[in-house]
Amino acid sequence: MNASFLCQYRHLAMAVATVVVLPLVLTSGSLATEVLIFALAALGCNLLLGYTGLMSFGQGIFLGLGSYAAGLALLHLRIPLIAVLPLAMIVGALAAALVGWFSIRQRGTYFVMLTLAFAQMFYFLAYTLRDITGGDNGLLDIPRPPLEILGQRLLPTAGPWEYYTLVAVVFVVVFWVLQRIVDSILGRTLLAVRDNEARAAAAGYDVRMLKLIAFMISGAITGLAGALHAMLTGIAPLSNIEYGTSESILIMTVIGGTGKLFASVLGAGFYVLVGDWLSTLWPRWLMLLGMLLIAVSLFMQKGLWGVGTGLLQRVRRQGRADDTATQRSAAYD
């Protein structure tokens, strides 16, 4: 009990450390904010992939819908920021409930294909319903109101680092909540479903309900990320709901490593920052990304997190080996 409590603290501390370090090493507030936004999306994807064993090609649906919901609410309803975020989460959760309810009926590759089919369908719906979504142009001129409760201004959001602060706070809170969920009984049950679905069902768990819950949480988080993204860029573009976005989120999650929440933060950070940097060097940077995916699939299935912990273990083992060596040589003195 004590060990897992400390472990939980350690990961949360890493999340906090990340939001503190980013402003120190990056000069662009927008870039730093985008890292955190996609970290949220990757967390949502990881909950499904790493913790429930479901590979969803539909995360872009929730990101896009979150963006549209936030955009429409801010443009037409003029509701305050404090209400936009939960609204996007609800929209994301409902969409996930819909997609999940149908997709969960399938397993393995069929599940993947179904989420892909839904992703394509939502894309074409968004493209066709031009009056609502703005079609190819998307929604434009989305405002970024400051954070207020009952007229009291809590946090300004106009400047890039000001907005980053807001997103950082949201990120840490969501991370903490997600960590609690993952460490709870629900979380461990999801792991049981991931490891052996038949056994979990035999043990009396309602596997479908569990998967659906995981889906809805994932949808809520990803919808939230979509809303934050819409306010970052001031637009809700069609590209957020495109298949390519779903693919990118999945790639980030796997590069980071599934199975540990903070790994998703690593994966998103890596993808956004390295992609941003590489694109200035070589227009064909997608080729390097492809090679990385191949390498991860062949050699580094645990992703960056796995590489990191592997190195750490080797250093520790080296330390221990040194200790025993010095002990042995001391014994001979």
């Binding site: 870039l31 079609g135 190819d136 860029t233 069609l238 590209s239």
Partner: protein
């Protein structure tokens, strides 16, 4: 092994040196930023845009005593990435001068972001809203919007062939395509033309045989293609394979010019009418000079994207020179009403909506045997300036 304190000191110092470096950089160069798709399905535009900006920058010499430089940023063809990178450039480097962008969705989103950052943005994208309902002080547009495109192609062909009374249209489903269709219908009404049918298709479509079959069944005199770039190429290629050229006149309202002709080849282009934003074969002082320049650097005649982006870059640089300042407000003031030698002759930036007033061309493709050189794909049939008055463009500039 560095201890934590030193590491924190170092990392705190990093942004400081970057900022310091930025200040140093600002003081002795003037930088143009070119946000275009360099990866993803629209990367061809990015490559030629970069070429255009490079030619402009490398051949400019000193400006206000400073060196002129440029950077490109990969927008990946996604408006959100484009906006975020514009934000980055404005925040990290204090970049204020942006040139390029052909995708309407990207250009619209970027124009708003540059406006927020108080910069200057000149684009070649087509969407009417850029100098229409979504116009703003920072944004300038070189390309002729939908009204002019249709007036110089559809109206001209209708007048040339007064007995061609049945027209069929193929339209892409997005605001630009719908704008073209709207103005086409206005011309049809005015000329007593029967609009025998329309096929709207998605921007992802590659298979046009169904729409062409539909078109042929309606027995039109003219097939009018309102789609753009690779889609109009696919439609045209498939149309020719169906033998459509034998039965009707084919008009491509807005062609991507030389780059499109090169990817199709003269056999497909022969006899087809193309609307063009510019044509290297037109004898203007700019074209004479620029064709020589482009051939020196790339060993081929300049295509639409290279020429137009070069023009935008040169106009912005010239405006900085004219204003004798890098303050965006002064540059914008210098650009309003500015006249200059452009690819189509004397071009002028209209004060009210920041739209460049220039010629739009109608070209008829010629057979391979008649080509005088490898870029001589057709002859200009007509040209002219057609623009809505500012009051009708829905532009309300603050």
């Amino acid at each position: 092994m560095m201890d934590r304190r030193n590491f924190l000191k170092l990392s705190a110092a990093a942004p400081l040196t970057a900022a310091f470096g930025k200040v140093l950089a600002q003081s002795d160069t003037i930088e143009l930023v070119c946000p275009v798709p360099l990866s993803g399905p629209f990367a061809a535009n990015g490559k030629f845009s970069e070429m255009g900006v490079r030619l402009a920058v490398e051949n400019y010499g000193k400006l206000l005593g400073k060196r002129v430089t440029y950077t490109t940023m990969d927008t990946e063809g996604k408006p959100a990435t484009a906006v975020r990178k514009v934000q980055e450039a404005a925040q990290q480097k204090g970049a204020r001068f942006f040139v390029g962008g052909i995708l309407s969705s990207e250009a619209l989103a970027m124009s708003k972001e540059v406006d927020k950052a108080g910069g200057v943005y000149m684009t070649i994208a087509g969407a009417d809203e850029i100098t229409g309902s979504d116009c703003n002080r920072s944004t300038f547009r070189w390309s002729v919007p939908t009204y002019g495109i249709i007036d110089q192609t559809v109206r001209q062909v209708a007048e040339k062939f007064p007995n061609a009374k049945r027209w069929y249209t193929i339209t892409p489903q997005y605001v630009f395509g719908e704008g073209l269709l709207h103005w086409s219908k206005e011309v049809f009404k005015a000329k007593g033309i029967e609009h025998v049918g329309n096929s709207s298709h998605s921007l992802a479509e590659k298979e046009f045989s169904g729409y062409l079959t539909n078109a042929m069944a309606a027995k039109p005199d003219v097939l009018l293609l309102l789609n753009f770039a690779s889609q109009s190429s696919d439609t045209l290629r498939q149309a020719v394979s169906f033998g459509i050229k034998k039965n009707m006149i084919v008009v491509v309202a807005q062609s991507a010019g030389l780059e499109q002709f090169e990817s199709l080849g003269p056999d497909i282009c022969d006899g087809v009418y193309f609307g063009l934003q510019n044509w290297h074969g037109v004898d203007t002082p700019f074209n004479r000079e620029f064709t020589r320049l482009a051939n020196g650097a790339t060993r081929s005649d300049p295509n639409f994207t290279v020429t137009s982006t070069y023009t935008c870059a040169k106009v912005v640089l010239d405006a900085i020179k004219k204003a004798n300042s890098t303050d965006p407000k002064a540059v914008i003031a210098a650009m309003e009403g500015m006249q200059y030698e452009g690819p189509t002759g004397i071009e002028e930036i209209r004060r009210g909506d920041h739209q460049v007033i220039k010629d739009f061309y109608l070209l008829k493709g010629k057979p391979k045997a008649a080509m005088k050189n490898k870029s001589d794909y057709g002859d200009i049939v007509s040209s002219g300036k057609s623009f809505l008055p500012v009051e009708k463009t829905l532009c309300k500039m603050a």
